[in-house]
């Protein structure tokens, strides 16, 4: 197969070893290729230097861009570590195509160690609540639980050479879908163990579940919303610091209150605050839906096609 000539200087080779045509590459670049076909092509692209050039050429890239494309594909081939089998199988069972499942499941917080660490942090707070530290344990849980999923997001995307970030730079494949799925998976994985733990708190009963669940939802959606402007791990760090800043006055005042008084009197746990959290969450969801194509994209590229 040959690349059709037409433009001066376009390189032709009669000895192209693979059977991929330029039309297929053009469809891939413009995003019209279906998910599984795109995935199969990407696996091929990791190995085939000629097709990498073709992708870059089909996207109208110049020599420097092509070089960058090739080195990124090469790095991806080396850097993508095998995902934990359980998480990946679960992801496939939920209907994700295999290559997306790999990327989604390769998030570090889905590894056993991280799930245990983050759960342990919450468990410690529960313990502290019973060990007579005053309101400290309850306060710690109510402040920590909303940001455990956000911390998970930071860890998921903060590693150097993170494959999704690299992918967003070279593949027209909708990386925002991967970011969305992966983030939601991490958030869910972080929140699921927190719910039973919260029932164990002395002053917090089932009716008080919303005290931390609503802020958690607000924090997670805000992280996603901010991630349409900056990188996901930075969005997570920003959201977490913002939440801690909001919680700081309550933490200072909590010193001379008991656990029950904590929930009854601090502004952070009043119905008005809960309404605000819901509002923030709704606004964040609107932002995410509206700007979803920019999720996880390289801000320098101005988003994905």
């Amino acid at each position: 197969m040959t690349y059709p000539s037409g433009e001066p200087g376009v390189f032709e080779s009669n000895r192209h070893p693979c059977r991929v045509s330029i039309e297929l590459l053009r469809e891939y670049v413009s995003g019209r290729l279906g998910a599984s076909a795109a995935g199969a092509l990407e696996l091929h692209l990791i190995a085939c230097a000629a097709c990498q050039q073709g992708v870059a050429a089909a996207g109208g890239a110049d020599a420097n861009e092509r070089a960058r494309h090739e080195s990124t594909w090469a790095r991806l081939a080396l850097d993508i570590e095998p995902a934990p089998a359980v998480a990946e199988r679960l992801a496939i069972r939920l209907g994700l195509p295999p290559h997306v499942a790999t990327l989604v499941a390769s998030a570090p917080p889905l590894r056993t160690a991280w799930v245990l660490i983050l759960t342990a942090l919450l468990g410690l707070s529960v313990l502290a609540a019973y060990m007579g530290q005053g309101p400290a344990g309850t306060l710690a849980f109510l402040v920590l639980a909303p940001i455990v999923p956000v911390i998970g997001v930071a860890i998921a995307y903060g590693q150097v050479g993170e494959p999704v970030g690299e992918l967003a730079g070279v593949a027209p494949y909708p990386a925002f879908k991967v970011v969305l799925l992966r983030t939601m998976t991490v958030v869910t994985a972080a929140l699921v163990p927190a719910i039973p733990l919260s029932f164990l708190l002395p002053a917090v009963g089932p009716s008080h579940l919303l005290l931390w669940l609503l802020p958690a939802v607000a924090a997670s959606t805000t992280t996603l919303a901010v991630a349409t402007w900056i990188r996901p791990e930075r969005a997570a760090a920003f959201t977490m610091l913002a939440w801690l800043a909001i919680a700081a006055p309550s933490a200072t005042r909590a010193r001379f209150l008991s656990s029950d008084e904590l929930i009854a009197r601090l502004p952070l746990f009043q119905p008005a605050a809960q309404v605000m959290f819901v509002t923030v969450a709704v606004l964040a969801v609107i932002v995410v839906v509206h700007r979803r194509a920019l999720l996880g994209g390289d801000p320098g590229l101005g988003g994905l096609p």
């Binding site: 000539s5 001066p8 200087g9 376009v10 390189f11 032709e12 080779s13 009669n14 000895r15 070893p17 693979c18 990791i46 190995a47 085939c48 230097a49 000629a50 420097n64 070089a67 090739e70 080195s71 090469a74 081939a77 080396l78």
Partner: protein, 287 residues
């Protein structure tokens, strides 16, 4: 020619992929160009010579020192100027601050001597009047010159430059060639490129690497002669030749056996290079 760098049977693997396989070469004074497509192993070879990597097998001798030993590495690094492919610099630093910092790392501890040396290298690359400018405000070509400046600190006996001319316009590339040629009169320069015109212009020796293997080592003239008698031009494409493409003037250039109604052309280094690396199949990546 006295050998400055000697490689014998050097292999370097990354996970399951061999970036370099059993490469043996001897490099002497002057400018040696390493030519090859992306992913061929050029960067790996340069990193090995710059002591940024250790080989898995084989022997390396650089300026008479063995980089496998810690004191050998230190001795090499004291005589080395290295410019890797993508140098991200500290964007908040000024040009002078960055080069000064590198000068400290090169053990130029006396402050006055450092200042003099920083001024010298910045003048050499033509950035003397921009010394106070922040790196984030520089263009790509200027950043590359800062990178070159830091490599020149301390007058190294060995310069290792990875794709130094990428992103430079022809005028800058000419200045770069002049600068490097001056250093190469008494020192050794090893540079990698995928631009054949760089090699043709000022390299005394050329190594061609493809797929991790050294497939040619010799002078540029010797490489060019491999395409003698095999370069043709005609009006239309040809399915039978090794390579065929349409040039800017609308005529087709072929390398290989002559198609009908073709005229013979004199071969260039690029033709010989393309001929040499033409048909190696894509390397399968084993996961």
């Amino acid at each position: 020619m006295s050998t400055q760098i000697r490689l014998a049977g050097v292999t370097k693997r990354f996970r399951s992929r061999a970036a370099l396989s059993l490469v043996s070469a001897e490099i002497g004074h002057g400018v040696t160009g390493v030519l090859g497509p992306n992913g061929a192993g050029k960067t790996t070879l340069l990193r090995l010579v710059a002591t940024a990597l250790q080989p898995d097998t084989g022997e390396l001798d650089i300026l008479g020192y063995d980089p496998a030993a810690a004191d050998g590495r230190l001795a090499i690094r004291r005589r080395l100027g290295y410019l890797p492919q993508d140098v991200g610099m500290y964007s908040g630093f000024t040009v002078r601050e960055f080069v000064d910092y590198v000068a400290i790392l090169k053990e130029i501890t006396d402050r006055n001597e450092r200042r003099a040396e920083t001024d010298r290298v910045l003048d050499e690359v033509g950035l003397g009047d921009r010394a106070g400018q922040r790196i984030r405000s520089l263009s790509g070509g200027m950043r590359r010159r800062v990178g070159l400046a830091q490599a020149l600190l301390g007058n190294p006996a060995l310069l290792v430059l990875d794709e130094p001319t990428v992103g430079l316009d022809p005028v800058l590339r000419l200045q770069f060639r002049e600068l490097v040629s001056r250093y190469a009169t008494t020192g050794t320069v090893l540079l990698s490129t995928h631009l054949t015109e760089d090699v043709a212009a000022f390299c005394q020796t050329v190594l061609v690497i493809e797929g991790g293997q050294l497939i040619f080592a010799g002078t540029p003239a010797a490489l060019t002669s491999m395409a003698d008698g095999r370069v043709w031009t005609s009006a239309g494409p040809d399915a039978g030749s090794e390579l065929s493409w349409r040039g800017a003037d609308g005529r087709y250039r072929h390398i290989g056996d002559p198609p009908p109604d073709a005229e013979l052309l004199s071969a260039t280094l690029e033709d010989a290079y393309l001929l040499t690396i033409r048909s190696l199949p894509a390397q399968a990546v084993r996961r």
